[in-house]
């Protein structure tokens, strides 16, 4: 698949997911540009071994988490963008998603990724396992740990 086709086919999902995770349209556009500019410069990044959707989901999640882990960025994003992620028709729980976003930068890397795929994208354990390259059972463990952390966070606040 050439880059132009990849951009037209999946650019919208990169933008939407980045907007959901970061809560900022401007930052989401930066992530979109960052990912595709990287592919233009180094097309060998996408080897074709995984599905294009899997590759771009992982690239978007990693780029967004990197931004959230930057302390200054995180403070700015949380201060500026307090609106919930979900839309009126979204089947997932807005409360949980807001909570996940609040603690996302504090979670260990693999838990943060699993939390994004589960709570932001509504993905099943099998789908998450495919993107993370692990077993569905491991995904279950990661999400269980995140649930415990969310419970602690909720009780502490």
């Amino acid at each position: 698949m050439d880059l132009g086709t990849l951009y037209r086919s999946y650019g919208h999902s990169v933008l939407r997911r980045a907007r959901s995770i970061l809560g900022s349209d401007a930052d989401a556009k930066d992530v979109l540009h960052e990912i595709f500019a990287g592919l233009v410069a180094r097309p060998e990044q996408f080897t074709g071994k995984s599905a294009p959707s899997t590759f771009l989901y992982a690239a978007t999640t990693n780029a967004c988490l990197a931004r959230l882990r930057d302390h200054k960025n995180r403070l700015r994003l949380l201060a500026e963008h307090v609106e919930p992620w979900s839309t009126a028709v979204d089947p997932r729980s807005p409360d949980t998603r807001v909570l996940v976003r609040a603690v996302l930068a504090e979670l260990p890397e693999d838990e943060a990724r699993a939390a994004v795929y589960h709570h932001v994208d509504g993905m099943s354990h099998v789908e998450i396992a495919d993107v993370l390259g692990c077993s569905p059972r491991h995904v279950g463990d990661l999400l269980a740990r995140t649930t415990e952390r969310l419970r602690d966070h909720r009780e502490a606040s």
Partner: protein
């Protein structure tokens, strides 16, 4: 236990045409009796369609920018005059004092693109790339009819929505096209519009009449090449 909702990943794969038929049928069947997923499907489909018109252009390598600069230099050296054809019955609406876009076509090997004009000869395997200079943002497409009479959009590669073209000097239309083995007269029409227009009517007109009429607020540059 209730059936799990369709994830965004599955909808995204389906919209991109990457979902297996059985998975696609399963997702649509679920959405038929799940109001939330049906609504999410509609929402993401609209998002997918909107991206074609609001998306920033695909980031480009530095090298193609050099190529475009080289095209400009070659155009000046060769004394190329870009003739912009406006529709005779629907004059382009332009803001007073604001010049219209200048459209041009380049062709050749990927490493050596050069400006081409009507009557120029190209060969199968050559790349064709449209470029423009515009003082304001617009939308565009590149449509073509080859020697066999087949008509297709070169830009965008698919869909009926024009691509966004930000204002700038000698910027490339996104994507170049490599000519196939069909020889003969190749008509290329470069379209620039102030507002996004559907491409299907332009393609239909080019197929039926051999030329497309520019809609209001649009400009078309036609280049007739000889492929052999």
């Amino acid at each position: 236990m209730s059936e799990p909702h369709v994830s965004d990943l599955r909808w995204d794969r389906m919209l991109a045409g990457d979902l297996a038929e059985a998975d696609r049928a399963e997702a649509l069947a679920h959405a038929e009796h799940c109001q939330a997923c049906a609504a999410r499907h509609v929402e993401l489909s609209a998002d997918f369609a909107a991206f074609a018109t609001i998306a920033p252009p695909l980031p480009r390598r530095v090298r193609p920018q050099r190529i475009v600069a080289a095209i400009a230099a070659l155009a000046i050296a060769a004394g190329v005059v870009i003739v912009v054809r406006s529709p005779s019955d629907a004059p382009a609406e332009r803001t007073k004092g604001t010049p219209g876009p200048r459209l041009m076509l380049a062709a050749g090997s990927r490493e050596r693109l050069a400006p081409v004009m009507s009557g120029d000869r190209v060969k199968p395997g050559d790349s064709v790339q449209a470029a423009y200079t515009a003082t304001r943002d617009g939308f565009g497409a590149v449509i073509a009819r080859d020697g066999s009479g087949a008509v297709a959009a070169y830009v965008p590669a698919r869909g009926d929505a024009m691509v966004a073209l930000p204002a700038g000097t000698l910027r490339s239309y996104p994507g170049s096209t490599i000519l196939d083995e069909v020889v003969g007269a190749q008509i290329v029409e470069i379209v620039w519009c102030e507002t996004a227009q559907p491409i299907a009517p332009l393609i239909a007109e080019l197929r039926a009449a051999g030329t497309a009429t520019a809609p209001a607020s649009c400009t078309i540059e036609r280049v007739e090449l000889e492929v052999r």
